[in-house]
Symmetry: C2
Subunit: 382 residues, 2 copies
């Protein structure tokens, strides 16, 4: 069985483990069981007709006396590209718009309030050497084609949309990896630029764009306070932490990452962030293998090749109590619908008290010392 | 099947999954396969006679041109208490010394260089209301019974010993939760006090001791630079991070934690720390259920009871490349022997570059702002 064929961890466990052991295995792996969420039959049918996976779960919280439940439904979309990577740019973009549009329509049938797409969702993932006209995919965050497309969906479905794109900023002649946040009114609420840029082996994304300058902005929407930590930023605990310090209740992590590189880290990092910061996190990865006409090397001794590897999907949501949903598949387009009661964040915080026991003021001092070029580490020798 | 009976995740998967799927499931769950480490037959026999689980693995690194391999063997010990919790204090301590002594002897047969015991290893876990003479378990870090016992073992076996105890500091009339680090020469190298003290529901460890004042000390030993992040400190990414900033190559996390509370978080946090900080982490949890003569309540609506819950063992080692060893069992005493080539840390760091892409200077500024009582979070509203 190749790694591109293996559909999902959950499916394998459910097919083979005896019921009593499955319960224990799932508890240890995924925490308190996430409840299945019932969806309208017409939504399930529509997903089936449109050939994408649809899964739905919910996280409950305790009923409080003074606050009503604050239930919100998020949608996570993972999808393959539609046209070959050497088709005309606008055709590629329009074909993806059309595909994702039909997924969003199903999300609306499922009552989704906030939806998030994968990193640079309206195009194949970037590989400049293999793909000459790549800068033409870059669009204005405020007025580009993709933003206008999302604004219409947002208004039509009363949905907040997080739209991660390759951004062209004409003002400063720069490209950015950005997430545009569009309110359910259809207005652009703002954008959040990728804070940490990978330099992994010879794969260096600063070929395309540099570290973001929008800090750790949180967006207050009608359905909760949200933030966007793009892709490689998930490896940096301080990045998640600062979004949380600014009040994020849900942190989205739109990504594009392949199996050989990161798959065993994928279930760990966003989930650790949900636990450590008493918030929900949503990890979204693209899916499929993207072929390029021009061959390229990857600085790892392998021969030149035409693809970057298999994007393994597996999008999931993690809760502050350490539990998580099963993932979407490793191989197919999918929509994960998750209802969460945001009251759970404060309930878990009141119990586990990480913010109160965190000694942050002392870390602020220590970190300030530690970043100095002449920092002397505290090491005891015999 | 009750949670106290379920022996281990790995055993369940290995018993039921078809081989091809097991390979994929293990890859996704545990990363690159950890190799089995061969042990001398007499060590395996001794462990069997002494009735504890013995597992051994190794993490390799690439051969470098300019640095020889830096292989070190760590031992993680998880054990039950031996005598009832109302036996005389010194008898309880001595019985545990004797039990752990026979495990350490086997560790020596396996060539272990650095061994770490569980949190407050020489006694049952603290519950002051249920256990009146509990302060009598506290010992001097420098001259206590338990330290002297460890010094002899250290010299005898040429082994660095990390000995987490309840420390009595006569000088300031204080109790601490501390790890004493004893060099393979037998000298006390120093101590590392628990930095973060749990207040989880009504379980408040500041009943016993307060936040440590030894900062993020790293100990340079003959076998590598080590640090100790005690128990609840594993929930705080900044804690792991500061040990790493001080140069730790292996961070030990001696713990005492029960199933209902933390089990789904257990495989996540130490492993996330290994990934995020390009180092090895060793998570050690005690095992068994400890009964107290006096009943007590837990502020959760349950009736008064005589135990705190099941300590689920499951000790494991995580590597900087996202891989990890299987865990020790959830139910038995055990010794996990892991050989690691410390060169792997820099190799992974050179590839993934988290320290170079971390923007730490900016976080130092932001964190300093964020801890102020009048901090204004960065929130965008429509």
């Amino acid at each position: 069985m190749s790694s591109c064929e293996f559909e999902s961890l959950e499916k394998s466990l459910e097919s083979h483990l005896p019921e009593a052991e499955l319960v224990e295995v799932k508890r240890i792996l995924y925490g308190k069981e996430t409840l299945k969420l019932d969806l309208p039959a017409f939504a399930v049918e529509a997903a089936s007709e449109r050939n994408f996976e649809l899964k739905a779960f919910k996280f409950d919280a305790l009923q409080e006396q003074l606050r009503p439940p604050r239930r919100t439904r998020v949608g996570l979309v993972q999808h393959k590209i539609v046209l070959p990577t050497d088709a005309p740019v606008l055709e590629q973009i329009n074909a993806i718009h059309s595909r994702v549009g039909e997924i969003v329509e199903v999300a609306a049938m499922c009552g989704v309030n906030i939806i998030c797409f994968q990193e640079t969702w309206s195009e194949h993932f970037l590989l400049s050497l293999a793909d000459e006209p790549w800068t033409e995919f870059a669009e204005s965050a405020e007025e580009g084609n993709t933003t206008r497309f999302c604004q219409e969906l947002a208004k039509k479905y009363n949905m907040v949309i997080i739209s991660p794109i390759l951004e062209r900023e004409e003002l400063h002649s720069k490209l950015w990896n950005s997430a545009v946040v569009i309110s359910n009114s259809g207005n652009v609420l703002g954008k959040s630029r990728k804070n940490h840029i990978p330099r992994v082996g010879d794969f260096n994304e600063s070929t395309y764009y540099m570290e973001g300058d929008t800090g750790h902005t949180v967006f207050q929407t009608q359905f909760g306070r949200i933030a966007v930590n793009i892709c490689y930023g998930r490896h940096h605990p301080l990045n998640w932490f600062m979004y949380s310090m600014n009040g994020a209740e849900i942190i989205f992590n739109p990504s594009a990452t392949v199996g050989a590189l990161s798959e065993p880290m994928w279930p760990i990092e966003a989930r650790n962030a949900a636990i450590a910061n008493h918030c929900f996190t949503c990890a979204i990865n693209r899916v499929g293998t993207e072929h390029f006409k021009n061959e390229f090397t990857s600085g790892d001794g392998r021969k030149a090749h035409h693809d970057f590897g298999h994007f393994y999907g597996s999008s999931y949501v993690a809760a502050p109590d350490g539990s998580r949903t099963p993932g979407l598949s490793r191989t197919q387009d999918g929509l994960l619908v998750v209802e969460m009661d945001l009251n759970l964040n404060r309930q878990v915080s009141d119990k586990w008290s990480f913010k109160m026991t965190g000694r942050y003021a002392e870390y602020a001092e220590k970190l300030t010392e530690a970043v100095a070029h002449d920092f002397k580490p505290k090491v005891i020798k015999e």
